[in-house]
Symmetry: C2
Subunit: 254 residues, 2 copies
């Protein structure tokens, strides 16, 4: 059981996919669910507490674009309180190809920085106990929505980074897998900007094709957490959960 | 002929792979080779001029981490002088996983920003003539050197972005392909830092395996430029040039 009685940090746990996933997580009875998000939502936090009163749900404001040092400071507060953390979920993401710098900072650098920060507490080379990282990437990291090339590329980066983390597990003691949702009916995809307006109707066109609900995605997310498989590349699309086999085009040999 | 009598901008054309590629390019007789690089190297520029005196070789200092607006300003100076530009090569890259922010800024954001800037001159929706973009990505964008997860991820991002650009060609008139070198004997790979020192000997270990010379890489680079194939994912490894077929794990449907 990767959730029951565990301590979990969920970055962007109040977001589009995040909130339904937080609801499913608390149902599985973790000891602590620590939600880090940019903006507090006391009603949502209260609701999560009400779903399962045995779970301690806490909230800290957190912007993933801060420095590694800032992230480390916040994590220290959390580790000091909980003593151990078992799972970190990195879920911060924006979808707006007008905002090149911010897309890269949130979707890619944010994931790298929060991960880098938690290594100070988890890395077994420093006497840490190890841990598990679940990074929310995207199917657009496999194959782009080419009308949002910056978003898609930022997700390809997050995915590649996660695959590397998994291979580093023997060294660091920290395992990792990626959660790659397909088009999910969130406010994120309701309307968004394409790069240089190459396709002003991109959101509309996407939503003409089959999608999944945030609840379907959240339920499969929890299944992936319970599977707890280092290196897994989970595709959560159209209400299904499938593991992807990454193609080897090259091998560093080391 | 994609080089003879053409006007070419080469970002990082004095770099590890860049300089030998610039040498091969001038041999093929472009009209203009405009090299943008962070640091001038008058001896190298003089050498390029001497290889083929019919080619006009010019240099402008350029740091790819400047804003799109700054990049646009420099490109305006170049377009005002040359009137037309046929090919943009984006080759700026650093390999140092101690420097997370800079790796992302140079290898990923730099490629996106220079590309975004040139669209103002090339985009056919604005009456531009179109153009060709060759982005130097890396085989680590296919499959990481997991000891440098940030570098590898930044290259996965540049590759994904390039694949998207190619699909946008019918809209923008700008075609694109990626140049993905394997391990090439440059100063870049002589010694470099792994992420959190996960493998201090990463450079040494890599170089125990077969590599290629910068000349081999440069000669295949010129072949790829001459092939001029929109959407091609070129692998330049061990002295070979091969086109990669990207795996479809998902399709946006639009």
């Amino acid at each position: 059981m990767a959730i029951a009685n565990k301590n979990i940090i969920f970055v962007a746990g109040l977001g589009g996919i995040g909130l339904d996933t937080s609801r499913e997580i608390v149902k599985s009875g973790p000891k602590n669910l620590v939600i880090l998000d940019r903006i507090d939502n006391p009603a949502a936090i209260a609701e999560l507490k009400a779903i399962n009163p045995k779970v301690t749900v806490t909230f800290y404001p957190y912007d993933v674009t801060v420095s590694v040092a800032e992230s480390t400071k916040l994590l220290k507060v959390i580790f000091d309180k909980l003593k151990t953390v078992d799972l970190l979920i990195n879920g911060a993401g924006i979808l707006d190809d007008y905002q090149i710098e911010r897309t890269i900072a949130v979707n890619f650098a944010g994931t790298v920085n929060t991960t880098t920060a938690i290594m100070a507490f988890w890395d077994k080379r420093k006497g840490g106990p190890g841990g598990v990282i679940a990074n929310i990437c995207s199917v657009t990291g496999f194959n782009a929505i080419y009308q949002v090339p910056v978003y898609s590329a930022s997700k390809a980066a997050a995915l590649s980074f996660t695959n590397s983390l998994a291979k580093l597990a023997p060294i660091t003691g920290v395992t990792a897998y990626s959660i790659n949702p397909g088009i999910t009916k969130t406010t994120l995809v309701h309307k968004f900007n394409s790069w240089l307006d190459v396709e002003p109707r991109v959101a509309e066109l996407l939503l003409e094709h089959p999608t999944q609900t945030t609840l379907q995605c959240a339920q499969n997310f929890v299944k992936a957490i319970e599977a707890n498989k280092n290196g897994a590349i989970w595709k959560l699309d159209l209400g299904r959960l499938d593991a992807i086999e990454w193609t080897k085009h090259w091998d560093s040999g080391i």
